[in-house]
Every structure is written in structure tokens, then in C-alpha cells.
């Protein structure tokens, strides 16, 4: 039998052509292997540059520091896959932090958990309604919600942090199971849930379909509005979990918590291969994107690089990732793909 080299890349189950290379490992999508390779190389560079990088305690720190970002990024994935965007995730974290802290300190554990998730759910509900019913562009709708949620958090807290959270809650941020920090376990569990929903469920297929081609999805009988609405609700609930993790870590309800999370979550999602045009990408790639951003920040901190420079580096990485995404999208359209 001859080894025939394919001349045309196959079409995957989401009706998109993969940019694949044939080689000794079989077909590998460059978008899927590129970032993991970069993360490995980056890890090696930091290992050589700092003797403290590849230590158990530092890797534990990276995991702890990445956990909240991971939860928010996994939620953001649902929205971006529908070709939307949620800029309010940072303020949602702040609102969840304050609401849950008020619940914990005044009414107890159950109230803290309920208040926190309720706050997140309300943000997602309103975002979803404004985008789908009022037809406001997601960028504008969630930018407005950023302001509303932030104001709500400041109002509820009176502008000052809320302390006195139960030790049993704050201790969760540092608890470990078989040496693995509890927040990391939560993030991994959320990744598993997100993967299952997006890859194996009808709702997940609808998400990809709506993001890939709204018209075609509508013609296929998919409720585009309901799918988009649910994406914002799921995003907000995932973000709420991230809010709980951060609140436990800082042991207070903070009205300004999570300010940088909107930018960082979009960076992680885009770096992880999710297309800003929607309909393309895998949540596992987002996990790698989170690892990239977290390892980068941690490594640069260990090496004493200023936090100002770190912001620039993350921005440059985002531009490169988005530029790469745009080249590939143009090429797909030129070839007559999705």
C-alpha cells in the first residue's frame, strides 16, 4: 500500500477545514499544538532563568493564581463561541464577592453561597436579555453592565471591603486534596463540565452553529436568541465561581475585585484558539491559554520584570494571537470554508 499524502485538508464536524500538516504523528492542527509548544518552551526558559520556577510551591502558586481566571475564561468561551463578548466579567466578580460576603457575614454559609450565585445569575440574565431582546451589540451591552455591576458592588459595600468572612470559607482557598489546591480542582471540574457541554450536548452544538453561521443555524431550526441568552447566563455562573475563589483567597468581599479579568479572560480565550468571529475552537485550548497567561505572569514576576512590562507582554501576545486568528479566518473564507 502506498502512503498517500492528502492534498486537501478534511472538514471537521463543525463544518470547518482544519489547517493540518501530515507528519509522523498524523494530522496535527497547528492551532491546537502551537500554544502548548510555546507554553513548554516558555516553561523551559523560565526554569533555566530562575531556580525557583520549577518547584512544587511555585507550581502550586501558579495553579492557585490561575484558578479564578480559568473559571472566568471558561465562561467567556461560551459567549465568544457565539461571536459575542462579555466585558462585564470583572465587575461580576466584584458583585459576587460583595454579595456573598454580605450573605456570609450576616446570614451564614448558605446565604453567602446563594447571594453570590444569585448576583452572578442576575448579571447573566440581564446581559442575555439586553443582547437578545433589545438587540444591543454585546460589546456595548456588557460594557454598560460593567459599569452597572461595579456601581452595584460599590453601593452594596459602601465602597469599603467587607471582612469577617467565616474561616471555613476562606480556608477553602488554601485547602488541598492529595496535594492539589482545591481551587485548581474546581477549575478542572468546570473545564470538564464545559468540555462535555460544548462537545457532547445539543446545546454545545447549537453554540457552535450560532457562532459559525447565524443564518444557517436559524434555518436549521435552532433558536438563536435562546442559545445566545443561555451563553451569557452560563458565562456569568462560571464567573461567579471564579468570584468565590477570589473572595476566599482575599478573605474579604472586595468591591474592586477582578478588575483585570475581562482583558485577561479574553486574552486566554483568544490565545487558546477560540475565534472572535465565533463558531471555532475548543475549550481545552482555553485551558492552555490560561496556563500561558499565568505561567507568563509568574515567570516574569520571579525574574523581577516590572508589572508594567508584563502588561505590555500580555498585550503583544494577544495581538499576535488575534492577528493569527484573523489570517486563518480570511484564509478559510477564501477557501470557501465556514
Amino acid at each position: 500500500m502506498n502512503n498517500v499524502r492528502p492534498t486537501k485538508a478534511p472538514v471537521n464536524e463543525h463544518n470547518q477545514q482544519e489547517r493540518a500538516v501530515a507528519g509522523p504523528l498524523g494530522r496535527l492542527d497547528l492551532r491546537q499544538i502551537g500554544l502548548p509548544i510555546v507554553v513548554i518552551i516558555m516553561g523551559l526558559i523560565f526554569s533555566f532563568s530562575s531556580s525557583n520556577f520549577m518547584t512544587a510551591s511555585n507550581l502550586r502558586n501558579v495553579g492557585l493564581q490561575a484558578a479564578a481566571l480559568a473559571c472566568v475564561s471558561f465562561g467567556q468561551t461560551f459567549v465568544i463561541l457565539t461571536a459575542g463578548l462579555d466585558l462585564s466579567v470583572g465587575s461580576t466578580v466584584a458583585l459576587v464577592s460583595v454579595a456573598s460576603a454580605l450573605g456570609f457575614t450576616q446570614y451564614g454559609w448558605m446565604a453567602g453561597v446563594i447571594f453570590g450565585f444569585l448576583a452572578g445569575f442576575l448579571v447573566g440574565l440581564i446581559n442575555g436579555l439586553v443582547v437578545t431582546r433589545m438587540r444591543v451589540a454585546p460589546f456595548i451591552a456588557t460594557l454598560a453592565m460593567l459599569s452597572i455591576a461595579s456601581g452595584a458592588a460599590l453601593n452594596l459595600s459602601g465602597g469599603t471591603p467587607i471582612s469577617g468572612l467565616p474561616d471555613s470559607f476562606t480556608a477553602l482557598a488554601y485547602a488541598t486534596v492529595l496535594g492539589v489546591p482545591a481551587p485548581v480542582i474546581v477549575a478542572v471540574a468546570l473545564l470538564a463540565v464545559g468540555y462535555f457541554v460544548l462537545q457532547k450536548s445539543k446545546f454545545g452544538r447549537h453554540i457552535y452553529a450560532v457562532g459559525g453561521n447565524r443564518e444557517a443555524a436559524h434555518l436549521c431550526g435552532i433558536s438563536v436568541a435562546r442559545t445566545e441568552f443561555m451563553a451569557y447566563v452560563v458565562c456569568a455562573l462560571f464567573t461567579a465561581l471564579g468570584g468565590f475563589i477570589l473572595t476566599a483567597r482575599v478573605a474579604t468581599g472586595q468591591p474592586s475585585l477582578g478588575e483585570s479579568l475581562a482583558l485577561m479572560s479574553v486574552a486566554a480565550v483568544v490565545l487558546g484558539g477560540i475565534s472572535l468571529f465565533g463558531g471555532r475552537g475548543n475549550i481545552l485550548g482555553v485551558a492552555v491559554g490560561v496556563v500561558f497567561v499565568s505561567v507568563l505572569a509568574n515567570g516574569l514576576n520571579l525574574l523581577g520584570v516590572s508589572s508594567y512590562t508584563q502588561l505590555m507582554v500580555i498585550g503583544v501576545a494577544m495581538i499576535l494571537a488575534i492577528a493569527g486568528d484573523q489570517y486563518m479566518s480570511r484564509d478559510l473564507r477564501a477557501r470557501g470554508g465556514a
Binding site: 497547528l30 502558586n61 471591603p161 488554601y174 483567597r249
Partner: protein, 325 residues
Amino acid sequence: MSTGRRSRFILSAVVAGAVGLTAVMPAGAATSHGTIGVSVPTVEGPFFTSMLYGILKQAKEEGYAVKILSANGYGNVATQVSQIENLISGKVDIMLVDPADPNVTKRPIQEAVKSGIIVLGAGDPAPGALGSVSASHCTVGQDLAVGAKKLLPDGGTVGVLAGPAGAHWSTERLRCFKEDLKGTKIKIVAERTSEPAVAEGLSIASDFLQRFPDLDMLYGADDTVGDGAAKAVEAANRCGKTKVLTAVLGEQAEELTRKGCINYDVALQPVLMGVDAVKLGIAIRNGKKPAVTEISIPNLPVTPENIDSVNKEYTRSPKGWRPPL
């Protein structure tokens, strides 16, 4: 260029960028008695610049390397927690922390102490640390109240630029300021929080002056918002009519005091805080048991009348000096 080649180009560019970045990263000190890690909420403003100057100056004399991590804002408390954890992983010998929120940093500071690092509060007390070198912010607030009573002996109206919401130093100053004004005829008619930035202070003070054209005094929590308040008063041609009361004597604050647009400045001595924090940390590391581990650095009241006679050596860093970030 084909898609495959473009992808490889972008990937290569990212990797090359990462490699290039490590080439320009600061090299570790060739010989050093140890490393001092510094965690601050921000490096904006004369207070932090001056304290960092003191730390770096004394560390250099003692032969210590210094690693500075800034959370880039009082709201970034989670970032400061991460940075303290990174300093622990980085195995610094001494850690100086100015907490954005002492309740938040207590736990990671305790972890640092458990891991054998000498941790001290610098600029602010840091619960969980082995000691601190700071100005008592309540004393700053009380000194500000003394200034207010001197400027308005017959009472009057005050607009308050309170600084960052929830930050220990600003909250404490204002709390003690208000307590000491109880029973006087000085009344606070407006109050706003903001990040410690001149532009914010200018904007808020301008709003106050619009609402209360005959406002007697503006309180600035520190000289970032205080300078902004003074500039608003200057722009409204009210220097001397609307008194400005603030804390920390930066370059701009000194200039505005000479002009008479700042009327009373409680000058902290952040350079001395930095110097003494390093000295205390090294003393403890060398096994000495200092008699006092909670050191409070006194403040200096500065007015347009006494500005030339006050010893300003420890109130700020040399003109034009910037922390090496």
C-alpha cells in the same frame, strides 16, 4: 504566504519574543548578601517613590539586591496576594510589604513568616509581619485636624478628597481627622473617594468648587489628590481663600505650598521609612532582637511660612529620581 507558513511565522515570533525578553531581563546581582522583596500597591505618587528610594539606597549600602513588585492599584488586592506568594517562591530573605488591605495580606504574610522570611510592614503596619516602620495614619489624621483648626479657627466648610476607598491609610486618616474635629464648627459638606491621582483630585475638587463656590477648605488624603485640589483652587483663583490641607510633601506639593495654594501639609518622611525598614529587617536577619519592632516615624507640619526652615531630607527622593522598574 500560505496559512501554514503564516502560522509558523507567528509561532516563531512569539517564541523569539519570549527568548528575547529573557535576554533583556535584569540579571541577578553578581554578589549580594541577600535579596529584599518589596510588595507595594502602587508606585505612583511621591510617597511610594520616596519610600522606594530609601529602601534602594539603604539596601545598596548593605549589599542587598532588591526586587520590587507593584500591584498597580489599591483595588488589585488579589494581585498583591499573588505577588507576595511569588516572593515566597522566589525565596527572598527579607520582605517589605505595604498592604493595600491589611485584612487581605495577613494570611500570605503569615505564610511568608512560616517559610523563614523576615517580613516587615513598610509605610503601613502589616498584620502578620514581624514588625513595621510606618507613620501612624491616625496620627496623620490628627495632625491634619490640628492644621484644619489653625486654618479655620472660627469654623467653616470642608470638601474631603478621601483617597482610595477601603485603603487602610486613607480610611484611618479620615477617621481620626473627623474624630478630632468633633465639637468644632468645622463641617464636612462633601466627600469623595478616588484613586490617588492628581487628575482625579483636580476633577473632584473642581466639582466641589462648582457646588460650593465659597468652600473654606479642601482636605486631600495625600498629596496626589491634594495637588489636584490645589490646582483646582489655583485655576479658580482662590489660593488662600479656599485653604488646602494635605499630607506628604512631594515636589509639586512643595511648589504649590510656596505659591500659597497649599496652606498646610503634614509631611511624612517616607525616605526614612524605607531606610529604617531595611535596617530593621537586616538586624532581625542577623539575629539581633531590636527593642522596638513597631517603629512610628514622626510627621512634620509644613506651611508657606516655615517651608524653607523644615528639614526636608527624608520627606522625598531627589528631584527627578524614579524607581528602576
